[in-house]
């Protein structure tokens, strides 16, 4: 073949230092983009929290799987609440109420372990620990953990308000503990800020921790602290305007409580559950515990459940018996045919 030299010169091999440099450059670019993205989109980073080995192991699972497991556990906790205590805990808490229910605690803890973004689970677990079980610090730490994990969540203000509520009304639930409304006010402010920052109104929830209710509590505590002007502003922001010459006394808050109760009445009918969100009583402290009548009703519901077991005879007996009889007949026919089939195949061999 003309024109094709027999010995083509080989191209020069790439210089080693250039390859190494390119490799390092790529590494630096990927590292920088990784941490830039993390910084830009927020969320938790590994440096910000001491993860245990088991938490890290769970992080390996895809988020969808973790959500599925957490959802199942959340439903299980709901089931545990409504069926009431086992014989080991008989009489310690009521069916249908989460208050003092120790059986749901490991279930909810596991749910949060798999999915740390379940705001409702933090709220119920935290309230149960602080107000109804002697674990105030643990409850507050748990709610703070919830705040840490859900920095961008539109429901973040609910967690802040839960903490504020626990600090502000602990006296009503636990003897020997004093309210700390100064700290509570700081958390209420944080709640309002979180609501505004995370656009909290974009998700319609049935929670009573809406800004107007948060402002109402804020107004009361501010008034108690002697900050009348700020209290007026808070009331105005809550949509409960007071004329400047009206005395801000306990009577005012009674009427304010009545207004809040009227607002909440529609909500309480739609959440007829023991796990329902806290209710605000008209004249005294807002109480997250479901009222006695609600408990009694739920307990009655569970008593009925006890009598009418989901696994009862009447529901399935006829079907199972009919099914069994039919299958036995077919099994008999098959036995006979298997004998004849075997004889035929034996005769062939």
């Amino acid at each position: 073949m003309d024109g094709v030299p027999e010995n083509l010169p080989l191209p020069d091999p790439p210089r080693k230092w250039l390859v190494t440099l390119l490799f390092l450059l790529l590494l630096v670019i990927s590292w920088t983009s990784l941490w830039s993205l993390k910084a830009r989109h927020g969320g938790s980073s590994f440096e910000a929290y001491d993860y245990t080995l088991s938490e890290l192991a769970v992080r390996i699972l895809p988020r969808q799987v973790r959500d599925l497991v957490a959802g199942y556990l959340w439903l299980t906790a709901d089931e545990y609440i409504h069926f009431g205590p086992s014989k080991a805990n008989a009489g310690r808490f009521l069916a249908g109420a989460y208050a003092g229910n120790t059986e749901i605690i490991p279930v909810l803890e596991m749910a949060l372990f798999f999915d740390p973004t379940r705001i409702d689970a933090y709220a119920i677990l935290g309230r149960n620990l602080t107000l109804f079980l002697p674990r105030f610090k643990d409850g507050i730490r748990l709610l703070q953990r919830g705040v840490f994990y859900n920095q961008d969540d539109p429901q973040l203000h609910e967690l802040f308000t839960e903490i504020a509520f626990n600090f502000g009304f602990i006296e009503d639930y636990r003897s020997g503990m004093r309210n700390n409304r100064t700290v509570g006010l700081k958390y209420l402010n944080a709640a309002i800020r979180a609501f505004n920052r995370n656009n909290g109104g974009r998700e319609k929830t049935l929670s009573i921790w809406r800004p107007e209710n948060i402002r109402a509590i804020q107004a009361r505590w501010l008034l108690e602290a002697g900050k009348r002007e700020q209290a007026m502003e808070a009331l105005k922001a809550a949509g409960l305007d007071q004329t400047p010459d009206m005395p801000l006394s306990q009577d005012v808050f009674r009427s304010l409580g009545a207004t809040l109760t009227a607002r909440l009445s529609a909500q309480s009918t739609s959440t007829a559950s023991g796990t329902s969100t806290p209710s605000i009583k008209p004249s005294t402290a807002p109480s997250p515990e479901p009222d006695h009548s609600e408990k009694t009703e739920t307990a009655h519901g569970d008593d009925e459940h006890h009598h009418e077991s989901p696994w009862n005879l009447s529901a399935n007996a006829r079907e199972a018996l009919f099914h069994s009889a039919g299958l036995m007949v077919i099994a008999g026919i098959l036995f006979f045919t298997s004998v004849s089939g075997f004889r035929r195949s034996s005769a062939k061999t």
Partner: protein, 258 residues
């Protein structure tokens, strides 16, 4: 008749001994025991031992382990015998092939009962040591689990008489999942008011096991009362299903050219 019964029992007994020597199974059993013990770690915030969740998790572990036993052991029964041709030595000594299948079923069922009794006993003792109370309803729960897994075992042994291992696994899992969801399909057919579809579902449901009847978890975990007659009927239903599937498997095996 007596000769067949004796042959069936001997096959079952040797099958049981064979499974006890299965190292894989012992490994799984050793894995499960610490898992049961780990339920003690659920005492978060030092609020005391919570019996309900331990019962719940314990029953689930026993159920999953039973499922493993059924899948691992039943695949190791008929197909390897045919492949290694050791089945010929057994069949030359008996008149019917379906007796062989029944014997194999008894062997795995005995292993299932053995392991479930150990695990159930351990769970009851664990609960007693922590709460000082006997949770006798767990015995019923484990019995119902045993019945459920016997049905699945008979289905898989039947499939093993004519298909390969991979098909058995796929069909077994399909039948198991389908057996828990008939009511959903019934509801969907009812919503669409499609009589033909309803009849089709009923036809399928007649021949395939309905595992939703064995869902007794809520009664056991929440200590709800259950009726003894329901248990008796469930046992009858299980016997009928197992007989049906084993007869079907025996029939197929009898006609198969080995």
């Amino acid at each position: 008749m007596l000769r067949s019964l004796s042959a069936m029992l001997w096959i079952g007994w040797y099958g049981f001994l064979e499974t006890l020597r299965n190292r894989l199974l012992l490994g799984v059993a050793l894995l499960v025991l610490p898992m049961l013990g780990a339920s003690l770690l659920l005492n978060t915030y030092d609020l005391g031992f919570q019996a309900k969740i331990v019962k719940d998790i314990g029953l689930n572990i026993i159920s999953v382990f039973g499922l493993f036993i059924v899948l691992i052991l039943s695949l190791d029964q008929i197909i390897p015998d045919i492949e290694r041709r050791s089945i010929y030595f057994v069949l030359t000594r008996m008149t019917r092939r379906d007796i062989y299948l029944f014997g194999r079923f008894l062997g795995v069922a005995a292993s299932l009962a053995f392991y479930q009794t150990i695990m159930g006993g351990l769970l009851v003792l664990l609960l007693y040591s922590q709460t000082g109370l006997w949770y006798d309803e767990l015995a019923v729960g484990i019995f119902v689990l045993f019945l459920k897994q016997c049905v699945l075992l008979s289905v898989i042994l039947t499939l093993a008489t004519f298909t390969s291992k991979i098909v058995i696994m796929s069909l077994g899992i399909l039948i198991y999942s389908l057996g828990h969801t008939y009511d959903i399909f019934r509801m969907l057919a009812e919503k669409q008011s499609n009589t033909l579809l309803s009849w089709f579902i009923e036809c399928v449901a007649f021949f395939l096991p309905d595992f939703s009847l064995y869902e007794i978890r809520i009664n056991i975990v929440h200590e709800l009362p259950f009726q003894a007659s329901s248990l008796a009927i469930l046992a009858v239903y299980t016997c009928a299903l197992c007989m049906f599937y084993l007869a079907l498997g025996g029939n197929i095996l009898s006609r198969r050219d080995l």
